[in-house]
């Protein structure tokens, strides 16, 4: 009796051993089946060749790049130098330097934007009551000199035209 019991156990062991090896092997082939399917389907490649596809690369409308102040054809912008964006910015990225025009009205002198401190959160654009600033689509913002990261967003002609 005992001998048969051990014999069965050995058989069981062998069958389990073989089953595990074979089924394990089968799971491996299943994985290989998936990868080979993609290998022979070059169209499944999802990566883009980035600098080459600059022309066709279009960012989404809401993409949050650098801060940008749109100017109309006369070189005017909508900023009233109220400074709400400056307050809304969490990082002190924006400095709105106001001056007075000839009539003594407060106008924008320099709109200073420090790209080095910007986290592209978009709170300034959200806070602006006049829609004077937007976030640009350009994402290639690296420069060689740190000083180049401080931008003046308004066009200087604006103040002179406002003064006239």
């Amino acid at each position: 009796m005992k001998a048969t019991a051990t014999k069965e156990n050995v058989l069981e062991f062998v069958s389990r051993y073989v089953h595990k090896t074979v089924s394990g092997f089968y799971t491996l082939t299943k994985g290989m089946d998936i990868t080979i399917k993609y290998f022979f389907n070059p169209k499944s490649a999802i990566t883009q060749e980035y600098p080459e596809n600059r022309e066709t690369l279009k960012m989404f409308d809401r993409f949050r790049g650098h801060l940008h102040m749109p100017h109309d054809e006369n070189g005017r912008n909508a900023c009233t130098a109220c400074g709400i964006c400056e307050k809304a910015c969490p990082n002190g990225t924006i400095s709105v330097l106001a001056t007075k025009d000839l009539a003594g009205k407060k106008v924008l002198g320099k709109y200073i934007y420090r790209l080095s401190q910007c986290t592209f959160c978009g709170l300034c654009v959200e806070a602006c009551p006049f829609g004077a600033i937007t976030l640009g689509k350009n994402f290639e913002l690296a420069v060689y000199d740190r000083n180049e990261l401080t931008w003046v967003l308004n066009k200087p002609e604006n103040t002179s035209q406002g003064a006239c």
């Binding site: 089924s23 989404f60 993409f63």
Partner: protein, 391 residues
Amino acid sequence: MITESFSEYNLDGNTLPEGFRLPPPDDEEAEEFFVNIGPQHPSTHGVLRVVVRLNGETVVEVVPHLGYIHRSIEKMAENQTYVQNIHLSDRLDYLSAFSNNLCLCMAVEQALGIGVPERGEYIRLMICELQRLQSHLLWWGVLGMDMGAFTTFFYGFRERELINDIFEELCGARLTVNYFRPGGSSIDVPDTFMPRVKHLLKIMPKVLDEYSNLLNKNIIFLERTKGIGILSPEKALSYGCTGAVLRGSGISYDVRKHDPYSIYDQFDFDVPLGNTGDSYDRCQVRMEEMEQSLRILKQAAARFPGGPHRSQPQQNYKLPKGSYYSQVETPRGLLGVYIVSDGGIKPYRLKYRSPNFSNLNVLNELAAGHKVADLITIMSTLDLVIPDIDR
């Protein structure tokens, strides 16, 4: 087991590094040595430093060292208004930025009694579930990579990219989204949102099946994860683990189900549970969570309402004096926000209860006695995001 003066203990002429508690080995033959895994290491996925005490290949003890990416976000929060704080909360756990935003917004809403319009709630829920999907997809890819199967990383990223595109089109950013606001969200969803979500819903079940066949049913994967890093339910609770780590140990706790926020109580979904609490269970829980997320998304997409997306927008939110707490289920577990307000527009104190910090602390319990390779797998199944640990 804990020796009082372990720092005086000499090993090979060196004192035992800080944090190790086990006494020196009784066996004279045992040659223990210490290995720094991190702060720069391919599989710590960030700047986590783990000092490992090894006996040959076997891990004796693990001591995580934190602080390499500490940015004092909680202190910075005290100088920022609540709306400004939302963009800081993106940077806690960058893979669940929407959930972090939501948690903070919910605390503010709770303080001020601001309601959220129905469409706003649906947007929140759908975006958070999409976020859960993308976070788990990344986790799955990285899990494979930690085990040496590089290809999973790219497959996981393929679908994650679809979701990230949704996010980018929605709010202009892919990781640091800064999207939710008290009372709803900063901007309504674009017209392309629904078609994109529906496309995702169509392809994801097939993709998840493929993932299972590629990695999760693979014999090598099974051998590497089954019975490895077993976390008992008691240990999981006492360490304060949440998320898939807790549920993998068989304890059913999901904030979405057991303390429903937003409109999760209107949706039909299950909380997947593991049995043994080993690495495999944690993996399977996450895999099934993806399916549950798809289920929620399907229901939400079917009855996505119209209407406004935000109520009572204000420039600054002035919270009444007092303390407020809210919690959400991020892809990694329970995130809590505790605000103490002195009545101003900025919090007096803002505390984040981050899931990863608690989940990291079980590492020693799980990895001790296993091999180095298993330590990496266990770390991967805990799904740690380091900036969330340090804050």
